[in-house]
Symmetry: C2
Subunit: 361 residues, 2 copies
């Protein structure tokens, strides 16, 4: 790959362009807002000049609703040998392209699963895709050459290629991303008009469940509008469990002991299914969740306390797998949970105790 | 307070006893399993001998379903001048006690909002309650002396006393604890039979939403059985939002543009209500969530990397408010997000860059 066009210079497009430009590919940047393309060019992501000839690869990085029209225009102009898009939904755009009667042999729909706390070209970085799954959805008619161009791009971006059917991808993201977003928003929405005294009692559990409820509604309306069917299907499954659980809780209020026992059984069943599902969520490095152990350390709120803990852990030769900071309410102290491999936990606890830390076991 | 009885020597009871014993109070430990009381005594939480005379305070720390019977027995035996329980549900036990015809002037229902990753006396620590809300639910008939005994206990435990009506407490915990638990379990339950390829795509969002789905079903059945009405009421509110959102997503699949616009509007509305509710969740130290900024640092998986980051941050005089470690999938590297006060973010980023760290802004 020597030449490329990136159409849409937001977070994802500009990050892709930064990677390509960094590897010596000549990148032409295009955006419906020329200022954004200029910003991306100023960041070193390429040039905003129009290419003089057909490039090797065109990457379309526009919101899902604009993917098909943007691709169609680029294809009809003979922009590139191969075409990718990087939108977060894959089935709809492909069907729109088919409806437009385009030859799709040179097209491959892809989706890099990269987080974005911020959007726009200024948030772009060349390491955005490192270690993240990058879904490729080739059809039976996709040219091998285009698939290889995509694999080359994913490799340059240090992503992890995952091949899936376009509709299977959309069902998967409905399950693991779009539904959790909506449910998190709904739990948080219950707090909108709650008593202040109730809100004061919030702990780490609800903080975690509602973290993503702070996400940008505009971006999520775009995503959900492009994937309504699969999300509605998953949500309907949650709704069925929810209705059953409301029924089970009402049965727990019954004077009839058999009904109460049935209610308790149904509540326990959904909690156990939750255990089973949670056990499948990959932990660090995409592996099955290891049986890590937690060493909890009480710290004050002074600068340097965390540094001291991690320095002491490092000196003990311990690799801390994950960290959770559980802050106390209304007091200037907190609990730091260091998550480590089981055999490391007693070593770490003893090393930290020797250094004077208060360990909660 | 000079003498106390703690009935039920699990995590909470033994932790209370450790605090009291540490402050010179003579603590008598009682449990339906004498081995657990002996274990608690061996930890320094008191003696498992029966008190010779009426003590100042009896603390009942048994599961919600056993609170009323245990309290009634202790009261009828004239065990103490004042009686507290520390169960996570408050309305039901009070009504059971009333139904038993007991004089409740010497009783106060309380609930320390303390986390417990593990249970039993061996998990107990004297710092379990530090900085956490401790709800007190006095009735109009509660003796001031008993309220003051409770405030003395909470103060010794370094908890933060919060006075609430018993039923308001139960509605509050239904909202901020019991409902999030069930919803987290239901989202996780969707993954139980999901395709492995879909599960591989899980990111930090679903990891956070489903973290508490790993909780112990037995303990949660006990809690939910004691608070079914308020939890069912909150869940029914979520169910109504869920049904409306499923309808809105189906409308987004419609050929009718007005229906699609209505669907998008309803989806956006629930996301915005989620924003508003999430903004009320207290952050660190019970304060309203500050507009913190994130400095993201790319790290390798070697021991000591975190120590180096925190040491470098400490040397720059920065107080890290919170940490999030976002691990890469299938690669031995990850992103550490340091959450700091807005004015500290550029200072930290620049200091870390100078030390050779790769910062993603």
């Amino acid at each position: 790959m020597r030449t490329a066009v990136v159409i849409g210079t937001g977070l994802i497009g500009t990050s892709v362009a930064l990677v390509l430009a960094g590897r010596g590919v000549t990148v032409h940047l295009r955006d419906h807002d020329p200022d954004r393309a200029r910003t991306a060019a100023a960041l070193g992501a390429g040039t905003d000049e129009v290419p003089g000839e057909t490039v090797d690869l065109a990457v379309v990085a526009v919101p899902p609703a604009h993917v098909a029209a943007t691709l169609a225009e680029a294809m009809r102009g003979g922009t590139a040998r191969g075409y990718l898009d990087v939108a977060s939904v894959k089935g709809g755009p492909r069907r729109e392209l088919e409806a437009l009667g385009l030859d799709l042999t040179s097209y491959l729909g892809t989706h890099p699963m990269s987080g974005k706390e911020r959007s726009g070209p200024l948030a772009a970085t060349a390491d955005l895709f490192e270690g993240r799954p990058w879904v490729l959805t080739p059809g039976p008619d996709t040219d091998t050459e285009v698939l290889n161009l995509a694999l080359e791009l994913v490799s340059m971006c240090r992503g992890v290629p995952v091949v899936m059917d376009a509709d299977a991808h959309d069902r998967a993201v409905a399950l693991i991303s779009h539904t959790p977003q909506l449910i998190s928003s709904m739990v948080a929405a219950r707090l909108e008009n709650a008593d202040e005294t109730a809100v004061r009692l919030c702990g780490q559990g609800i903080r975690d469940v509602t973290r993503i409820a702070a996400s940008d509604p505009g971006m999520w309306v775009d995503i959900l509008t492009a994937n309504p069917g699969p999300v509605a299907d998953v949500l309907a499954g949650v709704a069925a469990d929810l209705d059953e659980t409301v029924g089970a809780l009402r049965a727990l209020q019954s004077a009839d002991e058999d009904k109460r026992l049935g209610g308790a059984g149904a509540v326990e069943a959904v909690l156990r299914r939750g255990n089973a599902g949670r056990a499948r969520v990959p932990g660090k490095h995409g592996a099955a969740p290891a049986a890590y152990e937690t060493v909890a350390v009480l710290v004050s709120d002074r600068p340097g306390e965390l540094a001291r803990i991690f320095a002491d852990a490092g000196r003990a030769g311990i690799n801390v797998e994950d960290v959770r900071i559980e802050h106390a309410t209304a007091q200037q102290s907190g609990l730091v949970q260091l998550i480590v491999e089981p055999q490391a936990a007693p070593v770490l606890a003893s090393a930290l105790r020797e250094q004077g830390w208060s360990i909660r076991t």
